[in-house]
Structure formats: structure tokens, C-alpha cells
Subunit: 243 residues, 2 copies
């Protein structure tokens, strides 16, 4: 009998049920759902083995029958929300389809603001992640590029979606457990930024800051949309992209 956790293991390879012994009380999906419920309601830091076990209604250590390490619980969570991806039949217009996918992913992250933070750590591709990747490749079918390049496009686009949305959600997630509001925090940060920029040490930043102040509050949605457009353009053969 090998020592516990002496060799690497992918949670998805481990069978849910081996046949031997009493049948497990919960499924992997049950556990993931419980963890997601807690993260949604109380934030990622509330997702402890104890809390998840309590949410399920079992003893803390029982969880370790299903999930060897907490990190694996995180993998389950990521994949669980991946099931929410609304996968539509590709329209034939790869650009429109990818923009739709991006918006849809962004919406998913806004529903589960802890997702970007979790993605930064690990991974491991669970079944739903794979399904989503496959879908993206399907949408890109009309595009005349190698699969390698397409994968790079998908990775790049997903990265952009994640970082943009992450920045947007960071303060929201953080102020959740603070006694002040997101608006207050943002105001303080903006005031600080203004004060720094006013020192004259960063002239171009100051110019950018002023430009932003003139044109009112930034429309994050529009910024996101523009970034998507740029990235997709960069891979469009009609726009001069090769291979």
C-alpha cells in the first residue's frame, strides 16, 4: 500500500466509484455544487473543507474520501461552473461566434466572481473545460489556420477575457468581507492615483488620467468589446494575418 499522495494524480482519472465497499453518499457533482454555493454566497475564502462538509451534511474528514486535497476541490469547482457554458451551434461566422463565447464566459465569471482568482492557480482540464475548448475549435472551423494557431487564439482570447473580468471583479470580491463599500474603496484608490499623478512624476500617465476624467466614467463593457475585436482582427487572414 503506497503512502498517501506519494505520486501525482489527476482527480478526473480517479473513478467516482470502485465497486468495493459501501456506495458513496455523495457524487462529485454534489460536492462541487456545495462548494460553488458557498463561494457564491460567502466568497472564496469561506470555502473550507469544514464548511463544504457542513453544507453537504457530513463530517469534515469524509470529504477526503472524495477529494484528496483541497486543491482538487478547486478543480471540481472550476469544472462545475464550466457546465454552465451555454454552447450553441456555430453560425458559420467564426468572429461573431467567438465574440459570443467571450461575452458568455464573462457573464459566467460575473455570476461567480471567484472564478478568475481560482483559474490563476492551477489546472488541469476537467470534462466541461474540454467540452468548451472543443466548442471553440468548432466555431473556428471556417477559419483557415492550423489547429496549433487556433489553440493559440483560443488561449489568448480566454486570457484576455479572464484578466479583464478579473480586474473588474477584484475590488468587488475583496470588499465583500470589509466594513466599507466597493464604491468607497474605489474612490480612495482613485484619489490616491490622482495625487500620485499630480506630482508630475508620470506626465504621460497624467495625460491619460486627464483624458479619462474628461470623457466621464469608463465604459468597461466597451473597453472589453474593443479588446476582443483587436485580438480577433489579429488572427483574421483577411486582415493580413498569416498561416
Amino acid at each position: 500500500m503506497a503512502a498517501r499522495g506519494a505520486e501525482p494524480e489527476v482527480i478526473w482519472s480517479r473513478p467516482e466509484r470502485t465497486g468495493r465497499g459501501p456506495r458513496p453518499t455523495y457524487s462529485r457533482a454534489d460536492i462541487a455544487a456545495a462548494a460553488v454555493r458557498i463561494a457564491d454566497a460567502q466568497g472564496l475564502e469561506a470555502v473550507s473543507m469544514r464548511h463544504v462538509a457542513a453544507e453537504l451534511g457530513c463530517g469534515t474528514m469524509s470529504l477526503y474520501n472524495y477529494v484528496p486535497r483541497k486543491e482538487d476541490l478547486h478543480e471540481l469547482m472550476i469544472d462545475a461552473v464550466g457546465a454552465e457554458h451555454d454552447i450553441k451551434e456555430p453560425s458559420g461566422d467564426w468572429r461573431a461566434d467567438m465574440i459570443r463565447n467571450a461575452h458568455e464566459t464573462r457573464a459566467l465569471m460575473r455570476r461567480h466572481p471567484w472564478v478568475p482568482r481560482l483559474m490563476a492557480g492551477v489546472y488541469g482540464f476537467g470534462p466541461n473545460t474540454l467540452r468548451y475548448l472543443e466548442h471553440c475549435l468548432t466555431c473556428l472551423e471556417p477559419l483557415d489556420l492550423s489547429y496549433g494557431t487556433k489553440m493559440e487564439l483560443v488561449a489568448l482570447l480566454n486570457g484576455v477575457v479572464t484578466t479583464y473580468t478579473a480586474n473588474e471583479l477584484a475590488t468587488a470580491e475583496r470588499t465583500r468581507s470589509m466594513p466599507w463599500s466597493e464604491e468607497e474603496e474605489n474612490a480612495v484608490r482613485m484619489a490616491y492615483l490622482g495625487s500620485q499623478v499630480a506630482t508630475g512624476a508620470y506626465p504621460r500617465l497624467a495625460a491619460a488620467f486627464m483624458e479619462g476624467a474628461d470623457s466621464g466614467p469608463i465604459d468597461l463593457e466597451a473597453v472589453f468589446e474593443r479588446a476582443l475585436g483587436r485580438v480577433l482582427d489579429a488572427y483574421d487572414p483577411k486582415r493580413g494575418a498569416e498561416r
Copy 2:
């Protein structure tokens, strides 16, 4: 006297020394350096208030005189490594300069593999981060775009650099505290991926997988380089980008 931490606060706004009371034994830079030393040597999870205090040679709770919450320590760390940015006089070729910046940032993250993970959480722009942003804008001076668009370009590029490098470093960081090697872990993950793809459930992914297997191990450096090129192209007015 207000309750501790009852309102939002930016660590950089708080003066290092107020004048009243005994003069502080350490500087913010000392503390950040100690934390960075620990993170580099033992990984991010070893950066606890106790360990940092021990590294400095003071009592745990003394740290809280300098840093109200652990999160602020993280901000200090990010900014401390930001000081390593090797800022060169712009050459006049914005494209080359930005590529150089990107590579340089990537090298920085490879020196401090915990950086991407930390960036995913918070931030707040410290002085070194601002200096780097200003530098990027300076490099983009020859480019005929609004400051708003330039900021979007910088954000996008930094996002790409971060996500790419993060993926590359994730397993390295994780296996650090595990009894097996990064190679072993990657082998297991690849085997799993292969098995999934072999089920036939993801035909296009399978094709991509095969394509990759044929052409040998992926050259991450080249992938990174290509991604940079694409993004920069997307903002190049000569390539048809507007405004």
C-alpha cells in the same frame, strides 16, 4: 480614535513615518525584501506574517505597525519586484520596445514565479508599477493613438504576458511542495489528456493534440513571441487599426 480598519486605505498613502514616537526599526522596503526573499526561496505559501517577522528579526505583531493587513504585504511585494524592471531609453521603434518590455517582464516573473498568482488577486498601483506604466506609454509615444487606446494596449499586453507566463509557471510552483517532480506531474496530466482525447468525445481537440504530438514538444518561447506579435499587430495603424 476610529476602530482599526474601519475605512478603506491605500498602503502607499500612509506615510512611512509620522514623526511621533520612536523611529521605526525597518523600512517598507526592508519588509518587502524579506517577504520576497521568502517567496523566492520557499514559495508564496511560506510567506506568513510569522515567517516574514522572523526573517526580519522582530516579533510577529510588530509587522502590523507597518502593514495593516497581509494583503498590503502582498502589494508591497508586487511593487518591490517592480523595482527590478530594467527601464531603457525608448528606441523610437515602439513595436520593438514593447516586445522588449514584454520579454523583460516575463523574465522577471520567471525569477519570481509567485508574481502572477499574486497579481490575480488585488491591486493598487505602487510607485514602481506606475513607473513601469509610464515607461510603456513613453515607448508608445511614436504611435498615433489616443492615450485611452494606448492604455488599453498596455493592459492587454500585460494581461497576455501574465497569463502566458502564469500557465507556464503554475505546475512549477505547485510541485515545489510535493514529493514528486514537475516532469512527473506533467507526464501524468498529459497521459490523462491523451486518454480523454482518445475517447473520441473531442474530435477537434484530438486533431490539435495529434498535430502537437507530430511536431515535437511545444516551444513555449515561440508561442509567446507569436502572441505578442499578434497583439501588437492589432494596434498597428499601418495594419489597418483605427483611432
